[in-house]
């Protein structure tokens, strides 16, 4: 498809790939937005996921005495392992808020701890820290960083305001809402204007923030592209089709 000026997006071209992923360039780097919510940089064999919020369920029990199902970590791990099996990345980047709180790592059931540690077998793990997990994991393998630079892109948890060419971030949990006739669908999504990217939250118990919310306004000069996650593929949604909550 041709790049489009009329959308107010400069040089944004995309196509739907074989596995339902969306191929495009982010500040010149070739990328695939997967319908799992992961970002895939094939040239660097790097996979990126944001906002896993491991042990969010048990944090409610610890803080409020609310007994949510303690299975969110293994559900997130199931998804993660499926993607790893499909892509075999050499590097796996966590874009922050990997744990819902600083004590989350300590609450991991043994079985889940072993599974996370096993993610590091044959690959490098990079844990960017987020506001929920400022120190990053303590006992798990991998490098804990504030930011990472790969393929000319900068990976950090919280997107910075203003133009940030090449920034890949999470933190905001973007979600797109689309209405047609009498039905509405709300899905987690990527947001990009071709120069920067915000990833959807990957964790099982993570909600979404509508991308029409003002929190997104300082990031994009004009209308951006939402790539909404479907069960089999990513759907590119134009700004005009989006609805507020």
């Amino acid at each position: 498809m041709a790049p489009s000026e009329s959308m107010g997006v400069t040089s944004l071209a995309f196509q739907i790939g074989d596995c339902g992923g969306l191929r495009l360039e982010i500040a010149g780097a070739r990328a695939v937005l997967r319908h799992s919510g992961a970002l895939w940089l094939e040239a660097e064999r790097t996979m990126v996921v944001a906002d896993l919020h491991f042990e969010k369920g048990s944090s409610y029990a610890a803080r409020f005495g609310q007994m949510l199902p303690p299975y969110d970590t293994r559900e997130t791990l199931d998804r993660l392992e499926r993607e790893l099996a499909a892509l075999s990345p050499a590097t796996l980047v966590f874009l922050g808020d990997s744990f819902h709180d600083g004590a989350g790592e300590g609450r991991l059931p043994q079985e889940d701890r072993v599974r996370i540690a096993a993610l590091a077998l044959g690959r490098r793990l990079v844990w960017a820290v987020g506001n929920h997990d400022e120190d990053g994991p303590r006992a798990l393998p991998g490098d804990v960083v504030d930011e990472a630079a790969i393929a000319g892109l900068t990976f950090r948890h919280e997107p910075l305001p203003g133009a940030q060419p090449g920034e890949v971030a999470g933190h905001l949990h973007p979600a797109a809402k689309v209405t047609s006739g009498r039905a509405t669908v709300r899905r987690r999504c990527f947001v990009t204007d071709g120069t920067r990217l915000v990833l959807p939250a990957f964790g099982a118990f993570t909600g979404g923030l509508n991308i029409l919310d003002q929190a997104f306004a300082p990031l994009f000069g004009g209308p951006a592209l939402a790539a909404a996650l479907g069960p089999r593929r990513v759907h590119a949604v134009g700004w005009k089709s989006l609805r507020p909550d």
Partner: protein, 816 residues
Amino acid sequence: MAEATALPPRFQEWFAARGWAPRPHQMAMVEKGRQGRDALLIAPTGGGKTLAGFLPSLIQLSERAPRNTPAGVHTLYISPLKALAVDIERNLATPIREMGLNIVAESRTGDTGEARKQRQRLRPPDILLTTPEQLALFCAWEGAREYFADLSCVIIDEAHALWPSKRGDLLSLGLARLQKFAPNMRRVGLSATVDDPGLVRRWLGRDAEGVDLVLGQGGAQPIVEVLVSDGRVPWAGHTAEHAMAEIYEIIKGAKTALVFVNTRFQAEFAFQELWKLNDDGLAIALHHGSLAAEQRRKVEAAMARGEIRAVVCTSTLDMGIDWGDVDLVIQLAAPKGASRMVQRIGRANHRLDEPSRAILAPANRFEYLECRAAADAILGGHLDGDPARTGTLDTLAQHIMGCACSEPFAPTELYDEVRTSGPYADLSWEDFETVVDFVSTGGYALRTYDKFRRIVPGQDGLWRARNAQAVLAHRMNVGAIVSPAMINVRIGGGKRPMGGRKVGEAEEGFFEQMKAGDTFIFAGQVWRFNSLVGADAFVTPSPDKDPMLPSWGGSKFPLSTYLAGRVRAMMHDECEWPALPPDVQEWLNYQKVRSIIPDQDEMLLETFPHGKRFHLVCYPFEGRLAHTTLAMLLTRRLDRLGVGPLGFVANDYAVAIWSLKPMDQLDLQELFAQDMLGDDLEAWLDESFLMKRAFKACALISGLIERRHPGMEKSGRQVTFSTDLIYDVLRRHQPDHLLLRCARADAATGSLDVARLGDLLARIGGGRIRHAALDHVSPFAVPIMLEIGRERAPGDAAGEMILAEAEEDLIAEAMA
């Protein structure tokens, strides 16, 4: 009169001064009070039922010796409606004042001020008037046992409406608790006429036989007419629009009329239509659950003053205080159940010697038959039966947490106590233990939460709440009413609307389908929708006379089994036809010639081509809920058979499915085989949004998730992540979890009506499907065929379609 002498002189004089004689059922209730017996009074409205309930307590309190220590609550009155509790407080004041009794009667509801609540805690009133939710709160009080030690009587009003629900479960558990605190406490139930008083007695009593039945005298036989406006009954529709002019004339001839409809949107529509005709400027008002509370109170007050000629209303006025001046009840569109109709007719003419007058206005031909059946049932005294009830476990979980908040409990003792509650009489120890474990740790196979328990067993073997925070969180979330997240409808426009006047509330889903500029009817006016900001929808009045009405799918009440049976019988029995209006007769005759009139115990199934599609229409008459479930399951099967089903509609009478390929050669007995309710149902259910909705309700009631949390104020709308996520994760990792069990049970009895569907499949098994392979639409099929295209099935596939459409829009945008 022998009975009257049984009243103390003060009471006799009071009755005499009012020109009244005590009614036999009032004296019977006084007698039950003297004997200390539990009693259920069943009487029509207007028979002095409330006074009958209170008389024994008023007499006892008037005879008590003065004492030095302050007494506790003597009588606890529980009503399903806050407003009713407040009204009864006012109504009780009259006899207390006029007889000069030294009795304090006060209400306490969610709206009662803090100062008054504090005072009531320190100095309990003699008679406390409240709601089931407040009772659940009392049960969670520290010191509840002492507070209620003097309790002598509990009066449950509108018991017929309360018992078959989760509120009823919670209330029954609360009664069991109160009985422990006050072993001599007497239970009194007040109920409208019901089909099987035994079920209400079992619910109300401490054991099966313990409740005496007192029957009020029946009133005069009501006069019920089925309206055939302008000599015709339309083919299809839900609004009875055709009859509006005649209904307006009928209202003109009455003093005060209640116009009942089955949904809020029907109410808005009828209100709008009546005002278009209202050249005489009659005071016609509107009353339904979406209107702001103060607006509803205003209408009620104007009713009480006799200033209103007609109120268009929904089930919000099915019960409540008596208005003496109502002389006519109109039911627009079919009533769906005989009991509900009797209840509604009871709102007219509260003098027992005068007959109530009611007019039923059917909206289509099937509804004509249904209205006729309802009218016959009312005159014959036949009511719809409720199925017996088993107490729900999510509700039990809430109660157990409440008990722990109040005082430490021993599991075996609490188990015995719970089983004295009717709905829980057969509760197994295993289920009880499972619920206790759920309350404590969430009940997960993965024992992560043992260190965060909400309730903990002590060295003494007693269980108590973990800490003050757990207690507070419970108290903030008491109750078994789960309502959808509501949006405030406010007046305001422009880019940044400010909080304008609140017009009312609507379910969240209502505005999701709207875009700025859309017009709709709400609170009896046409509005323009401007924007949705947080929990507020901003609207401005619109001059538009023809708003784009949101669609409504007919009644939310399912057609009762009893009425359905009557309709089938009436259809089959040609001797009954001559009594029907000419166009209904003609319709039945056409059906006989062009298709088939089935036998009473058969189900008719028609197949025919229409347009470019093939259609299958069957007529089970089991109500919309059971039909929707049936349609979902049939569609799955037809899909497997390679017929290519494209869609379906279901109403109260029939199901229509259309497909790419013909369906007349299918093995129909096989298609409707009972094993449909096995794997197919399970597979579909797990993905169904109905299950997710049922799960959410169970999660809220059981305390798994909280509506409100101390220091974490969140509206239903802003929950950071939805219960759907929890449901999906739990279903994959622990499919036998207690709450999934609860949700399945609720969905099966409630929104899916699986029980009724099971009865149908059993009924039509063994060759009871009558198939008519036609080459054209049949007369019976016309109403449902007209509904095709108005509904779209929600679901995952539909969601993908929407996204695909949005993508096409994007491509168009990009290419422009």
